[in-house]
Point group: C2
Chain length 374, copies 2
């Protein structure tokens, strides 16, 4: 049975497939399968034909579980990788697709998974494969009301996580212990899961991806906490940087400058504005305040089922298999503040999840933005 | 500077590269970079030439942090994806590699990352790419003393995690809350991080990858807890299945049969035994006890920097870009019990991390194996 929410999504999907001349999608990325069918899990696949038929292949152990949540017309269980290839072959035959084109997720499939999904025992020789990443991104880029509710819930859970992490900060505690508090609080507040937690301190706040370590936080350290809970399948993305002890004047200024840039960018958000324009405001404000050399990485990206998804900024987008983002539409959700200030000895980052509305924006993560919580 | 532990590994690596006629490796998988250089992080790369030169490319923000831990001859920072491609081009030129072959990680790189790593502005046209997964796996498959110490530490941390999770089990608690306890305890016991925690209950114990949900545990439920802490860069893999309330006779028998199969397999472990032989013992014991239809998935895999790595069982290995595993060697670490019994309404799994020694084995995760902890 196909539930109405998925019927509507599949209808839009078919429209895009027709435009791109795609006969069938063969999806394996959990987030994409979840969006179109209501169930996304590892080691599974979903095929969607241009006629709107939805066919699933799952580990044989999972059939009953998937039947409870997923929208689909056909389901097959398999024993192993060979069984998976046979299931794909079966569906190609059943749907009479012997030539034409199949859409695969080039930004998700590794080279070896690709070999498996295009194995001659599965995909007919006459069927050409092409990347369906841009199709899936443009389908998912505008969120409906229920999706926005779920992201809002995740945003509240993120606030609980940040609050718990900040509360435990003190000299001597390890970065990993701070992460423990954030994660524990997020699960208690209703997270099913979370994406990898970043906690970095002192000189490590200057690095791009600060995964937690056993480093003990010292008095005078900045601590950067970046978290991404998943609630009902949807994510939020939030970061705060906090001082343990007293901040130097330089740190205070950097914090204020970053916050000014972030807030100026958020205030410019509304439908019809371009991602590139927002990025210009963000980086322009930082440059104006003397941080030209401290900029690294794209400051804005989309949030949804994944904590980092389309729209991605132009340069980044290209290498992630995405098209350059057009103007924003109401219903898109952004994380603003994804890049920080990197001064060398330390860095600062403040990131919030923000909904694009018709005439403006709504900030979904409203935890206080300040350097000191003493 | 190249530290002695990495000098030895790079020497072995060069030996394998010569055999395969590989002029240079271009690695991006954190676990592989960590093994050969002491530092593995996202959005970075390591190039290793057949002459033993180690060149790193990292986000420009990360240079100082990498310099503290990594063994390398050259390091370059980059601003973005284009900078990364230019850094790759720079090294190819510097090392005078204009033809020949480059080893890439086909089991790690997505199709779009592959396009980036083989971009004509980076890789010279005359250089052919090939998969270096089997080389990296055979390098990492036998652990040295320090690696075994780290895996043993991770195993102790896993025991703390399992103990905390079991302690909190009661009707009404959600799967996610149980995961929270395991994760919190692992971080408190010294984990830097952990791979995704699996907690499933009741009918969900029958599925292959039981990620935690908001399902409330009920009296009479089996609960499966599968955890993978990371300590000093090394992992352990451990699973216990526990009853909340009283188990049925059928559940008790299934548990005993699975434990018998797991223990029989572990007892057969020693250097020179084949993975296929162990798998036969595992599945043979289950079949003998009436569980032929309840078997799914490979029962044994390697453990090291990753919680699931080579050696992989033959069928699985092929689709994961690995060569079929040969006979076991002393110093390899295995997870035994990776597959469970899947009866339909519920499943059972017991998994332990086990070191292969010259004349036998050593179980590293020694938490009690029993169905009830009341």
């Amino acid at each position: 049975m196909i539930r109405s929410v998925h019927k509507e999504r599949i209808k839009r999907c078919i429209g895009l497939m027709r435009k791109e001349n795609l006969d069938v999608l063969l999806l394996a990325k959990p987030s994409n399968m979840f969006y179109l069918t209501g169930d996304g899990r590892l080691c599974s696949f979903a095929m969607i034909t241009q006629q709107g038929i939805v066919a699933l292949g799952v580990p044989k152990t999972d059939i009953e579980d998937v039947q409870k949540t997923a929208s689909f017309d056909h389901i097959m269980g398999f024993d192993d990788e060979i069984g998976m290839i046979h299931a794909i072959a079966h569906y190609f035959k059943e749907f009479g697709i012997l030539k034409g084109s199949v859409g695969l997720e080039y930004t998700f499939l590794t080279q070896s998974m690709m070999s498996m999904f295009t194995h001659p025992h599965g995909k007919p020789e006459g069927v050409q494969s092409m990347d369906c990443t841009p199709i899936m991104s443009s389908l998912r880029i505008v969120k409906d009301e229920e999706e926005i509710d779920r992201i809002s819930e995740a945003a509240l859970v993120a606030q609980e996580g940040i609050a718990a992490a900040i509360k435990v900060l003190r000299p001597g505690i390890t970065e990993s212990r701070v992460a423990a508090e954030a994660e524990y609080a997020m699960r208690h507040a209703g997270a099913d899961e979370f994406w990898r937690t970043y906690v970095s301190s002192g000189p490590r706040t200057n690095i791009a991806h600060g995964l937690p370590t056993q480093r003990k936080i010292q008095k005078g350290d900045l601590v950067m906490i970046d978290i991404h809970p998943i609630v009902n399948g949807y994510s939020a993305d939030m970061c705060r940087t906090v001082i343990v002890g007293s901040a130097t004047t330089e740190q205070k200024h950097a914090y204020e400058h970053f916050l000014t840039a972030q807030q100026a960018t958020i205030e410019a958000i509304r439908a019809e504005v371009g991602m590139v324009d927002l990025e210009k405001i963000f980086h322009g404000t930082l440059k104006k305040n003397g941080h030209e050399k401290h900029i690294f990485g794209p400051p804005i990206h989309g949030v949804g089922i994944e904590f980092e998804e389309a729209p991605l900024p132009a340069g980044h987008a290209f290498f992630h298999g995405e098209k350059e983002p057009g103007s924003l539409q109401a219903g898109t959700v952004l994380a603003v503040g994804n890049c920080g200030i990197y001064t060398g000895p330390w860095g600062v980052r403040i990131e919030d999840t923000v909904l694009v509305t018709g005439d403006g924006y709504e900030i979904l993560t409203n935890f206080p933005r300040k350097l000191s919580f003493d």
